[in-house]
């Protein structure tokens, strides 16, 4: 019996040791897999052909600004009491002609304010694994929405437009956006917006609402600002006339006028501003 106990102990120790070795091996393999940078496969003819099955969102989309104002008044964000005080002051300043500048320094408007308050047009491009939204107005208005099935990165760099992944549910593009810079505003107009302070999360359901009308149903969660998620919709209209095509919009260029340098070359000369308003051509 003593011998048997000894054999059993030895066998158990061997089994545990083997399991540990196997686990270590698996762990190392797993770590190697995690270390490996993902490589995107080259798109195939099948991938391009699959795009034809998506809804037609071609053309240029222009915002319904009248509806933006209506939404702002009838369905405001559920601001916390403290934020509501700040918002009230911003409305008072705007009415008094001292607007707080939400779209300042030529920074991109950012998400979700671009979709909420834009006065400018945008276009939507489909390519394998990607939906890209290109705007007009401030510099670098651009959204990359990955539809190739990837998750969000574990710790993405925050940005003005965040990290967006999307998938199709029938004709609806569902977009999940995180990793927005804490300074990026949740804005209801160009003079009323509050920095999200760091944990904003946006889920959008973008879909045609008729042949030439696009709806973006947004669910915005921002615990530092809102008492509950804010559900709101914005409307855009399709234009096919060529004069509606997107043009380049370099925001900083508005701060300069055409000039000649000392050698007679064409150059940009800064114009003079006062309180963000141009007041002199030199």
């Amino acid at each position: 019996m003593k011998k048997l106990r000894s054999s059993t102990t030895w066998f158990a120790a061997f089994a545990v040791c083997t399991a540990v070795v196997i686990a270590m091996g698996l762990g190392a393999a797993s770590a190697r897999a995690a270390d490996k940078e993902p490589i995107d496969p080259a798109p195939t003819l099948k991938d391009y052909t699959a795009l034809a099955a998506l809804p037609d969102w071609s053309g240029t989309w222009t915002p319904d600004m009248t509806d933006q104002v209506k939404q702002e008044k009838t369905n405001p964000p559920p601001w916390t009491p403290e934020i509501a005080k700040q918002v009230k002051k911003m409305y008072a300043d705007e009415a008094a002609g001292r607007p707080f500048e939400v779209i300042d320094h030529c920074f991109p408007t950012g998400m979700p304010s671009w979709m909420l308050i834009t006065h400018n047009a945008f276009e939507i491009l489909f390519s394998p694994g990607r939906v890209t939204i290109l705007g007009e107005g401030d510099g670098n208005r651009m959204r990359r929405i990955y539809t190739d099935g990837r998750p969000h990165p574990a710790d993405p760099d925050p940005s003005f437009h965040g990290h967006s992944i999307g998938h199709w549910e029938g004709g609806t593009l569902v977009i999940d956006t995180i990793a927005l810079l804490p300074q990026v505003y949740l804005a209801v107009n160009e003079a009323v917006g509050i920095p999200n302070d760091g944990d904003m999360h946006i889920v959008e359901r973008m879909h045609l609402q008729g042949p030439d009308t696009l709806h973006d149903d947004l669910e915005i969660t921002a615990s530092k600002l809102l008492t509950k998620p804010w559900l709101t919709t914005r409307t855009y209209y399709r234009q096919r006339a060529r004069k509606y095509e997107i043009v380049e919009g370099v925001c900083a260029q508005g701060g300069f006028i055409d000039a000649k340098d000392a050698n007679g070359h064409d150059t940009f000369a800064p114009i003079t501003f006062h309180d963000n308003v141009p007041v002199g051509s030199k």
Binding site: T62, D64, M65, T66, D67, E94, A95, G97, P99, E101, V102, I103, D104, C106, H119, N120, A121, E136, G137, D138, E190, A191, P211, D212, T213, Y237, R238, Q239, R240, A241, K243, Y244, I246, V247, E248, G249, V250, C251, A252, Q253, G254, G255, F256, I257, A259, K260, D261, T267, A269, P270, I271, T272, F273, N276, V277, P278, V279, G280, S281, K282
Partner: protein, 139 residues
């Protein structure tokens, strides 16, 4: 070199010598203008700045009481939006005589937000429309 070009030449020199005012943010809310009021001015276009996010009409206006012409700064929307309501970058040219209707700055400074401009020699009236694309399929 005409006067306007001379001014811009000098501006370029000043810019490169580092003495020019730093460029400020070009994008701002039009709530800075008094949208409850409309003013009208006649003058001569000094330059038409066709830029994002806002275009600018620089106008020289002869003061009613005499003296040297004064520069007025009338701002309007982006080339993209203006193109869709019939404007081009050549709609206004230096030397054009114009009448402008605008929302004035609240402190009386020589500036405003454009409502419409009329070319006095042709009678052509160009409006600044911000929300002119609120239905699909516009021509």
């Amino acid at each position: 070199m005409n006067r306007a070009n001379l001014n811009f030449f000098l501006a370029g020199i000043i810019c490169m010598s580092g003495l020019g005012a730093p460029a400020a943010s070009a994008h701002h809310s039009f709530a800075v203008y008094d949208n409850s009021k409309t003013s009208t001015l006649k003058g001569t276009v000094k330059a038409f700045q066709w830029t994002n996010p806002h275009s600018v009409i620089w106008i020289m206006v002869q003061p009613a009481g005499g003296g040297a012409p004064e520069e007025w700064t009338i701002e309007t929307t982006s080339p993209g939006v203006l193109t869709r309501s019939g404007w081009t970058r050549k709609s206004l040219n230096p030397g054009d005589r114009v009448s402008v209707e605008f929302h004035p700055l609240r402190d009386g400074s020589h500036g405003g937000g454009l409502e419409a401009v009329t070319l006095l020699d042709t009678g052509q009236r160009l409006e600044a429309k911000f929300g002119a694309a609120e239905k699909p399929g516009l021509q």
